[in-house]
């Protein structure tokens, strides 16, 4: 069978995100692929330069629909460090609780999506049903299901009442029970194993070389978690473990994410039970002094980096957001070569791509898309971005 070009995206049932893969396949095997990142430029970084610190946080929260707390916290914690503020312990714990609940809902969502990509819709429905419990908790605590709006420079906006803590704690045992069920299911469900094992394998060296982050990297045995390596919020005080795996395939990523789900429930439980008393915010100056900070944060999808520069006013000079998905693209493109067409959705979904974060920068709609690799050549990180003279086949 001759080589065929299969367009995947920007409108495709598997990738409900504005990204375009042109997969060149020989039969069912992927020979090479061309990647178009995004179709939607929102100009958030430019807009962030125009707003003061109060008004910029809701904007940054809307960088991403899933990890909204991550962006706001990464920014707030950077600005607080520039200002030299120490936020109260209670605020730190509340931020941690929201962050871990967010991780839980993101990973549950991911598990459902991964199951859906292989047609296992029952697991998809179940995880999304259980995700509702997390979202209800978040809604009770913050007032919204997705954009929590809990952060402000110098602390958090709303306090947790005793009733909210009790309600959240009462939901945890159910979730823990469910997560145990999922561990069991993932380890015993035959079709899931057969589709996840050995797919999109990435060795430790490759994961490091191509700059994979988050669960994608940890599944390949890269022991890299900002929460432990550069502790922020309450992570230094809470007992928890970094989950890693050595398999490096989609199954390994699933195991890492489910393991992180479990760790998250334990972190949330510890924080709720040991919530310190005290104020939830400190007074902040209006202006930040001149300075720069690389604020790193372990978002559900991986390491998120905000490079913030201030100039002594109440606005940032520049905020450069590097989202985990952008860091993971190189590795995913590398993973896909020589895999089956049927595995594209699974492999791409395995990094949990969030185009909303990534394409905050992007508008792409090119007719003459670049050839990214020569015919039958394995795709390396360099070749992914095209070489001169390969525009025409």
């Amino acid at each position: 069978m001759p080589e065929v070009v299969i367009p995947i995206g920007p409108q495709h049932p598997a990738l409900k995100e504005p990204v375009n893969f042109r997969v060149i396949a020989d039969g069912e095997k992927i020979v090479r692929l061309e990647l178009d990142l995004s179709y939607n430029h929102r100009g958030i970084e430019k807009a962030a330069e125009q707003r003061n610190f109060i008004r910029v946080l809701p904007l940054l929260e809307r960088v991403c629909g899933i990890c909204s707390h991550s962006h706001a916290t990464a920014f707030a914690k950077g600005i607080e460090e520039i200002m030299g503020l120490e936020i109260p312990p209670r605020a730190r714990y509340i931020r941690t609780i929201i962050a871990e609940l967010e991780r839980m809902h993101s990973h549950l969502l991911w598990l459902g999506v991964a199951a859906h990509e292989i047609g296992f819709n029952t697991l998809f429905m179940w995880t999304w049903r259980d995700r509702e419990a997390v979202q209800d908790t978040l809604e009770e605590m913050s007032g919204n299901r997705v954009h929590y709006g809990m952060n402000e420079i110098g602390g958090v906006r709303c306090d947790l009442t005793a009733a909210q803590v009790t309600a959240a704690l009462s939901r945890l045992p159910v979730l823990e029970e469910r997560i145990k069920q999922y561990i069991d299911m993932v380890n015993s469900q035959e079709t899931l194993l057969i589709r996840f094992r050995g797919i999109g394998r990435m060795s430790r060296e490759e994961a490091l070389k191509y700059g994979a982050v988050g669960p994608t990297a940890r599944a390949s045995g890269v022991d890299y978690d900002v929460r432990r390596d550069d502790p922020y919020l309450a992570y230094a005080e809470v007992p928890w473990n970094v989950v890693t795996d050595t398999l490096g395939d989609v199954y390994g990523r699933t195991r890492v994410r489910i393991g992180e789900l479990w760790e998250s429930t334990q972190i949330v439980r510890y924080c709720l039970e040991n919530l310190p008393e005290g104020p939830i915010r400190v007074d902040t100056p209006k202006n930040a002094p001149k300075g720069e900070i690389l604020s790193r944060y372990e978002a559900p999808r991986g390491e998120l980096a905000h490079y913030i520069r201030t100039n002594g006013t109440d606005r940032v000079e520049r905020v450069d957001i590097r989202t985990p998905t952008l860091a993971n693209w190189t590795s995913v493109a590398m993973c896909l070569v020589n895999q089956n067409i049927a595995d594209i959705p699974v492999i791409v979904a395995a990094i949990d791509p969030c185009l909303s974060c990534t394409s905050r920068l992007t508008v792409v709609n090119r007719r003459d898309r670049p050839r990214v690799a020569g015919p039958h050549t394995p795709l390396s990180g360099n070749r992914l971005f095209g070489r001169k003279g390969e525009d025409s086949p």
């Binding site: 990142l37 995004s38 179709y39 430029h41 100009g43 970084e45 430019k46 490091l208 070389k209 191509y210 700059g211 890299y224 390596d229 550069d230 720069e292 900070i293 690389l294 790193r296 390491e303 980096a305 490079y307 520069r309 000079e317 520049r318 450069d320 590097r322 952008l326 860091a327 693209w329 190189t330 920068l361 992007t362 508008v363 792409v364 709609n365 090119r366 007719r367 670049p370 990214v372 390396s380 990180g381 360099n382 070749r383 992914l384 971005f385 095209g386 070489r387 001169k388 390969e390």
Partner: protein, 159 residues
């Protein structure tokens, strides 16, 4: 092997490449020049076990463009190499040959700031669409949307 790498050793090692200062307990900032960057990264990869590029940040600070290469290794100390590139000829050599993930960040910066990375294998538009006007780079400080220009099919209405 990584136990020997401390902020002090890093400062010692990278002293040759420019001004070194420790800006945070786990972050070293090295101001260097475009010509030395390659060697600096190679040295840190070889000696300081740097294995990962966190990101490349770009800042337009009025007179120059500032490029910041944030690298990290198993010692979990961020090494930031800072380059200043003149605004009138924004060209710097690429590092995507020694750090594969840099390719995607460099393309992003090329789009948004108009900095050219010499030797980059495919410095094409990644972030902005095809009908984006040439020589307009939205994250430059002096960029204003033109009144009659279409950006991705949309004309910006100035109020």
């Amino acid at each position: 092997m990584t136990g020997t790498v401390t902020p002090e050793t890093i400062q010692e090692m990278l002293r040759d490449f420019g001004t070194v200062e420790q800006v945070r307990k786990n972050r070293i900032r090295v101001s260097t020049v475009p010509g030395r960057l390659h060697d600096a990264i190679m040295t840190s990869q070889a000696v300081l076990f740097v294995d990962r590029l966190i990101t490349i940040s770009a800042v337009d600070n009025g007179e120059t463009f500032e490029l910041l290469y944030h690298l990290i290794g198993p010692h979990r100390i961020i090494i930031t190499f800072v380059l200043n590139i003149p605004r009138n000829s924004p060209v710097t050599p690429t590092v995507s040959d020694i750090l594969p993930p840099a390719g995607i960040y460099e393309r992003q910066i090329h789009d948004l700031f108009g900095i050219t990375f010499g030797g980059h294998p495919g410095l094409k538009k990644l972030m902005l669409n095809e009908d984006w006007p040439e020589n307009e780079h939205p994250l430059r400080k002096d960029w204003k949307p033109g009144p009659d220009t279409f950006y991705g099919g949309i004309k910006v209405e100035r109020s």
